[in-house]
Amino acid sequence: MGHERVAVVGIGQTKHEATRGDVSVAGLLREAAQRALADAEMTWTDVDAVVIGKAPDFFEGVMMPELFLADALGCTGKPMFRVHTAGSVGGSTAIVASQLISAGIHERVLTVAFEKQSESEAMWALSLPIPFTPPLHAGAGGYFAPHIRSYIRRAKAPDHIGMLVALKDRQNGLKNPYAHLHEHDISFDSIKESMMLWDPIRYAETCPSSDGACALVLGSEKVADEAKAQGRTPAWVQGTAMRSEPTLSAERDTVLPLGGALCAADVYRQAGITNPRKDVDAVEMYVPFSWFEPMWLENLGFAEPGEGWKMTEAGATAMDGDLPVNMSGGVLCTNPIGASGMLRFAEAAMQVRGTAGEHQIDGVRKAVGHAYGGGSQFFAMWVVGTEKP
């Protein structure tokens, strides 16, 4: 964790939509960044450094787009850094930003993650016809569906669990004014009747493609104490961790990846969490297909093996359950890929700060933000809390 304490002192995000036709890429980032700065009561000139994250550059068709975005984010004459760790990037970007403070290098760091998927199509960018490379027969859903099937078999889970997750997250999303999907008519039956895209994944159990950005202002202990003195609650970063493992290795477990569990164990150790189910008050986890909720519940130590789906079925992960999961509506409601991980980290911080509005859980003292990417192989997590670490 380093010598210096770090806290989230400003949070901003855009309204997420399929196409944000009103703003340029720069405008999209600035909408999130300016909200974060306003929340922190700072201006561009207060920022020491900027850390930017996004998923592959082909999404917007700009190579290393942080270069053309440098002045949009007030970086002139400042350090600017670009992280890319596949789908986990929004989380790892926030972690890299926090380390600039915990290492004692900077006091105030702005971090921004984004994707403007409407500039092209994710389906195109993710399926460039690379010669001699075995075709992926059905996109990301086609990649993850067999692993979900393996989970269902291994955990002996009933079919309706994925639908319960989709219903819960879409209903949570109705409480989040920034969420992309606001499906007021959603019901268990409408999900059940939606098209089976990649059996066992239904259309209504799948994340959307979104334009959106998320930004955080991170501050040193001094900066956070000042914010607190002025009545703005900081969310203290109590632990950060990242783990990577190979995409295609013979020993790897694609259902419950070892890297994900090691990442969780590391971040809990730092945050003093010994019993995750008891010690954590709220979780934002990266669930792009509904079945990943029970899978991650097991992988992150909230449930014994084979028991994650029982937590979901019993309502433990609902807003009024003992471990609310994805209060914001999660990736199932909003998926600007590069920003999706940071949105999880941001929501965890909002819960701790008590600023989550209608989707606020009462009395959150410790919250977990989680992101993953690639073929369930890159993991980034943080724990934020009301107490100084």
Partner: protein, 352 residues
Amino acid sequence: MRDIAIISFDQTPARRSVPELNEVEMLMPAIHGALAKVDMTIDDIGFTCSGSTDYLAGTAFSFVSTLDGVGPWPPIQESHVEMDGAWALYEAWVKLQLGEIDTALVYAYAKSSPGDLPMVLTRQLDPITVAPLWADSVSLAALQARALLDAGKATEADLAEVAARSRRSALDNPNAQLAWDRPADDLLADGYHIAPLRKSDCPPITDGAACVILAAGDVARSKVSRPAWIRGIDHRVEPIHLGLRDLTVSESTRIAGEKAGVAGGEVDVAELHAPFSHQELILREALGLGDGTAINPSGGALAANPMMTAGLIRIGEVASRIWSGEANRGVAHATSGPCLQQNLVCVLEGEN
């Protein structure tokens, strides 16, 4: 700040094209070489970080398959930047500052040969007002060179001197791609490539990879007799639009050099990431380097310019000269973006 040193460095021989190897196949010898030089394996490494960009070879998530070359099993602590490996090294240095780990491995690689590099680089430019013009990287550098000539800060002969000296120095670098001995006057007799630049003022297009290992304090001392300590490291950026910058100076390099403490002592050697000859002159001025400093003894980017890697190689080249005792204090520089838009400066020092 914790004492962190560069303890190992390896690179693949720079070549115009390495078609017989994919990226991970090309990269692995650099990783294995850097580890072997200090008798380490990946199991001795606390953190791994890499730099690369998808656009060069046209494959999304290129870094995902190259990670296989590290063997991240059991799972490891790892990160990737879509930047030159010098910035990956910066992230590793920050991570080491946190005090939980003592070693880090940094690698970078690029295969520029599959595409038309100067045209691929146009995709970095403002996507609405500039990129559609397909203003290639050499043309933009030529605009900068003309500005420098017009300002009276350099002559074409000065550029030729840099070009000639770099390729002459490269004769001693077994990994260089362009190495020859031709006097500057001779170069001036060549026609323009994109005026006012001649071919000799421009970098080669290179496929290659490099790996650097960092270690903290006593771990570094246990591995090499004379670690190359990072005494300062900083990076800064400017707007991408050429019209918003004074092209004859590098303000971001100047700030980074000041923050990294370049002026804090004699600089024996400097490896400057100047892909075009005139850029060396701009960088020398920005860093305040005088005649006492040996500039680019490796031949620099004019002798081998693997994208995303050439900056990391500059750091490795300076470190090598500190390990050998050839230099006591050196400056390494990395750049990114058109016409020196973003710059990193690292000050390295040996212990006496």
